[in-house]
């Protein structure tokens, strides 16, 4: 259970995928969601965005309210029928669906359905690299960026190299890695408000690390981290800005 | 207290039976695969042990007592505690102390090197008092540099203070060494007491170059340790050390400050 299961290899490159936008993207970073879908469409795929979708259930799940989490997760199941991959622009939400849904639905009448849906979940950069093998052409100005790896992308989805590989494809982008790339930024969902002082210390260390790279942008694949890091960068009047990788990539491809 | 015993065991049994665990098989291939060519073992052991301040001396079966003696003399150590009843202890005594015990003083010339050995043979009972005074004069010609041999041949209670405060070095044998981690295997016994390798400031250990194992696991399997463990078995991988003060390594906290491995080719 603790090891991320390798994504089911896609036997053939699909012509159509589902997009699960996530609630944080929906409310705070809709442009990142649109950029994610655009990246997929640019590869010739048809993208389906079921309008009935809301949230993967993680907030309640991690707060100890499993029944409420189950109710919300269950409401998503029928929106993704068939065998198409489900692409998620968040390692954390993808991790919830892929790793925790089977556990959450264990013993429930719709367990089999949940497991089937869960098995089709991909994190966006993972899908772009592993399934689509995308080749990116950089049309942007030279810029130095750094990458913030989300904990759940790394440790639940096993996504470590994919986003950095995408950034390295961009000719005018210099990627400077963080000294403590693997260290949590201190978001942790309700943790940030339950333990605000510790969370502040954690994001403080993260901001220091980001500043030391001399990067103009910090790119990440998770909106929870971005809310936290961007809020702290802004709060500390730092000249650096955080951006979702989908949006960053889209900008680079359009110059 | 047997109440606690039965309560604990009953609860564990009921819980386990309600939710049995099926453990995955223990695949020891990873241990079995840790192998080094015979000629690589000793250099690896040296490298690993030297990295934690162990010192090495090279010797042969013929000259190791002299090597030990010279080393101690060079380092200014004057007292060496040893195990008189072990083969190595006998060799050491014979080589180092051709001077016979006091009652035979004056008869030295008539006796070969084996005499020291026979003296110890005559006194094998561990609990019987030693003929040697602890810090006795014992001007042994073989140890002309001033290293006094002190046999560990009585219960620790009878000379604890001297053991802690009056001895520079202790000599032990080993069962061999382990290549993976750079560790000596010590197997204390009635003849070779446990504190020999712990209390004296310098621990001198004899290592036969043909007794090298790849891993701890291999050593215990090859020698069937599970069929009979001694009172105390030890792996020793360096002198006593600590990093408890700001992660700064410091040697010689409680046990030996120095570990000298004499490799006998």
């Amino acid at each position: 259970m603790t090891q991320p299961t390798p994504p089911r290899p896609s036997p053939t490159r699909p012509s159509k995928v589902y997009f699960f936008g996530t609630c944080l993207v929906d409310l705070f970073f809709p442009d990142a969601g649109m950029a994610g879908m655009d990246l997929l469409k640019a590869q010739g795929l048809t993208v389906v965005f079921p309008q009935g979708q809301s949230c993967c259930g993680q907030p309640a799940y991690n707060s100890g309210y499993r029944a409420d989490a189950l109710k919300v997760a269950r409401a998503q199941l029928d929106l993704f029928p068939g065998d198409l991959p489900i692409v998620v622009p968040s390692g954390s939400c993808a991790g919830m669906m892929k790793k925790h849904w089977p556990h959450l639905f264990h013993g429930e009448p719709d367990e089999a359905k949940a497991v089937q849906v869960s098995s089709r979940v991909w994190e966006l950069t993972q899908f772009l690299v592993q399934v689509l093998d995308v080749k990116l052409e950089d049309k942007g100005e030279p810029v130095r960026v750094t990458w913030h790896a989300s904990c759940h992308a790394q440790r639940e989805m096993g996504v470590v190299e994919e986003p950095k590989a995408l950034l390295r494809q961009l000719a005018n982008v210099e990627l400077v890695e963080l000294k403590r790339e693997k260290e949590c930024c201190g978001f942790g969902g309700t943790f940030a408000v339950r333990h605000p002082e510790i969370s502040a210390a954690m994001v403080g260390d993260k901001v220091d690390d980001i500043e030391q790279t001399g990067a103009k942008r910090v790119v990440s694949g998770d909106c929870g981290c971005l809310l936290n890091i961007n809020g702290a960068l802004e709060g500390g009047h730092k000249p650096v800005q955080g951006q979702h990788i989908a949006q960053f990539l889209k900008e680079r491809l359009h110059g | 207290m047997s109440d606690a015993r039965s309560a604990i065991l009953a609860k564990l049994r009921a819980s386990r039976d309600a939710h049995p665990i099926t453990p995955p098989p223990s695949d020891t291939t990873v241990l079995a695969d840790k192998r080094w060519a015979p000629e690589e073992r000793l250099p690896r052991i040296r490298r690993l042990m030297e990295a934690v301040h162990t010192e090495f001396l090279d010797a042969t079966e013929a000259d190791w007592p002299a090597v030990v003696r010279e080393f101690l003399a060079r380092e200014g150590a004057t007292t060496l505690l040893y195990a008189p009843g072990t083969p190595d202890g006998k060799t050491l005594a014979a080589a180092t102390s051709p001077l016979p015990p006091r009652e035979r003083e004056g008869t030295h010339a008539e006796h070969g090197e084996g005499e020291g050995l026979s003296e110890h043979d005559s006194n094998p009972t561990p609990d019987s008092p030693s003929p040697f005074p602890l810090r006795g004069p014992l001007p042994s010609p073989g140890a002309g540099e001033g290293v006094h041999l002190i046999p560990y041949d009585r219960p620790v209670e009878t000379f604890k203070e001297q053991l802690f405060e009056g001895i520079d070095a202790g000599l032990t044998s080993t069962l061999g060494a382990i290549a993976e981690t750079g560790s000596l295997i010590l197997w204390p016994s009635a003849q070779e007491p446990r504190l020999l390798s712990l209390v004296p400031h310098i621990h001198v250990a004899l290592l036969r170059a043909d007794a090298l194992y790849d891993t701890f696991w291999q050593a215990m399997r090859d020698n069937r340790w599970a069929e009979g463990m001694p009172t105390n078995a030890l792996l020793v991988s360096g002198p006593s050390k600590t990093a408890d003060i700001e992660q700064t390594l410091a040697y010689g906290v409680h046990g030996p400050k120095r570990l000298i491995v004499v490799v006998i080719a």
Partner: protein, 479 residues
């Protein structure tokens, strides 16, 4: 210190951690130390396949031991007894303390020297013995420092990691007559050596923990670097060893993988200086070693942990402390903030189960669920899953864990119910998100939660149109 049972008042982790965060010296000490330990550990496990296979082996050893726990404990007892080791069982820490006192009184002990033992920290044994006029002196250098300072260990492997050399030099100067003001680790270590060797020589009883107890042979395995463990288990006439009941392994061959992964994970060393395997007290004809060995097997809530099929994985732990070294929360606040014998990730899952969720309900929440601990745990404990489960138990009345449901709050339950209703109905979700998009940014920063969030951050800004809106406008198909 004397209070060691019965109090159910919640321990305020937030308050204690706040104090730690305000101490730049402490934060610097931990940051530096943990960065170093993580680097050293990574060097030990550079070979990914070896790490994977060793870890699988060690996990299987621990799981096999748990699968036969009652039988192995009986076998351990039988073999120890045959070897001359006296075995005692204690359900509670009070019982364990009483057992110790009994032995101490019988041998008229005045001074006990101790090697590291986390179980005796659970027991608050030192304070207990002191109350009975017996000096219990910690001999591990880190523990000795902490004891001199009158505080608790801040890390299970490196008890004095919160202090730097300067602070320790000042402490020695204050507490030790012959100490000079020399801020040098070698000097301070040498001073402690002189003092403690006297104590080893004169102690009536030596005490130690156990890293692994071998059922097959009745052998107690202890690992350490300093030699104090060997002193405590060899010099005094009586040795008392303490183990939590989960510390048993089935066979002698189960020891090498555990003994290999423990120091490599803990401090990044290939092996500790000493691996001490004790199988019996001094035998007829032997010249040293204790004449009596006692093994105290402590439950203290472990059998309850074992009762739950999911929570029992907590008992795989081999106490390497690597989870602390890698925990971003621990690294910020240090060990003392937890006010518990076991801090860090393993503490957050173990202590609430031992002491109950009324007192320790906050501990499982002091975690971002980043899984850094899970990634490096050498016996693959699903720490974060257990953390999540304890969060469930904290708000769900029942008997799975001591004080299950103690944190239940009607308000919080209502909030989540509302949240679920909103997210489970597309229509409700649409209305709610529309409202947030239009009105969310007007929320005053003084609101609960937002107030905490904005302590160091700007307010999160709701987008004026949701992804749902944008997708619809751009004609992204819905099915």
């Amino acid at each position: 210190m004397a209070e060691h049972h019965g109090t159910e008042a919640p321990v305020n982790f937030a308050a204690a951690s706040k104090a730690a965060l305000l101490d730049p010296q402490l934060r610097g000490n931990f940051r530096r130390a943990m960065d170093g330990l993580m680097t050293k550990r990574a060097v030990q496990f550079a070979d990914a396949k070896e790490w994977h296979d060793m870890r699988a082996l060690a996990a299987s050893v621990r799981l096999r031991a748990l699968s036969k726990l009652p039988e192995l404990l009986e076998k351990l007892e039988a073999n120890c007894t045959r070897n001359g080791i006296q075995v005692h069982w204690a359900s509670t820490t009070d019982e364990a303390n009483a057992i110790v006192l009994d032995i101490m009184k019988r041998v008229d002990a005045k001074l006990a020297v101790k090697g590291k033992s986390m179980v005796t920290e659970e027991m608050h044994l030192n304070a207990f013995l002191e109350e009975h006029g017996i000096e219990a002196l910690e001999a591990d250098l880190g523990e000795y420092i902490v004891q001199l300072d009158g505080t608790m260990p801040s890390h299970i492997i490196m008890p004095a990691i919160h202090l730097n050399t300067k602070q320790i030099a000042h402490l020695f100067k204050r507490k030790i007559k012959e100490a000079e003001s020399i801020e040098d680790a070698a000097y301070l270590t040498g001073l402690a050596r002189r003092i403690l060797r006297q104590k080893f020589m004169n102690a009536d009883v030596g005490m130690s923990g156990v890293n692994a107890a071998v059922a097959e042979t009745g052998t107690l395995c202890l690992i350490e670097n300093e030699g104090n463990g060997r002193m405590c288990t060899t010099v005094p006439p009586v040795h008392i060893a303490f183990m939590g009941l989960e510390k048993v392994v089935e066979t002698l061959e189960d020891v090498p993988p555990v003994i290999s992964l423990l120091p490599r994970s803990a401090t990044g060393q290939p092996i500790t200086t000493y691996v001490n395997m004790i199988t019996s007290p001094r035998k007829e004809g032997e010249l040293d070693g204790p004449r009596e060995i006692h093994l105290v097997i402590l439950d203290n809530g472990r059998s309850s942990v074992y009762a739950d099929a999911e929570l029992r994985d907590t008992l795989r732990c081999i106490r390497c402390g690597a989870c602390m070294n890698h925990c971003p929360v621990y690294t910020k606040v240090g060990g003392h903030a937890y006010e518990a014998p076991y801090p860090g990730p393993i503490g957050k899952i173990l202590v609430p189960q031992m002491e109950g969720l009324a007192k320790r309900g906050e501990m499982p929440h002091a975690c971002t669920m980043c899984n850094a601990c899970v990634e490096i745990c050498p016996v693959k404990i699903p720490i974060v899953e257990i953390m999540g489960r304890l969060r469930v138990e904290a708000v769900r009345p029942g008997d799975a864990v001591k004080d299950s449901g103690a944190q239940a709050s009607k308000t919080e339950a209502m909030v989540w119910k509302g949240w679920a209703a909103m997210n489970a109905s597309p229509m409700a979700y649409k209305i709610a998100t529309m409202a947030m998009s239009k009105l969310g940014n007007a929320a005053p920063t003084g609101l609960p939660l937002l107030k905490e969030w904005t302590s160091v951050r700007t307010k999160p800004r709701f987008a004026s149109r949701t992804l749902h809106d944008l997708a619809r406008e751009k004609g992204i198909p819905d099915v």
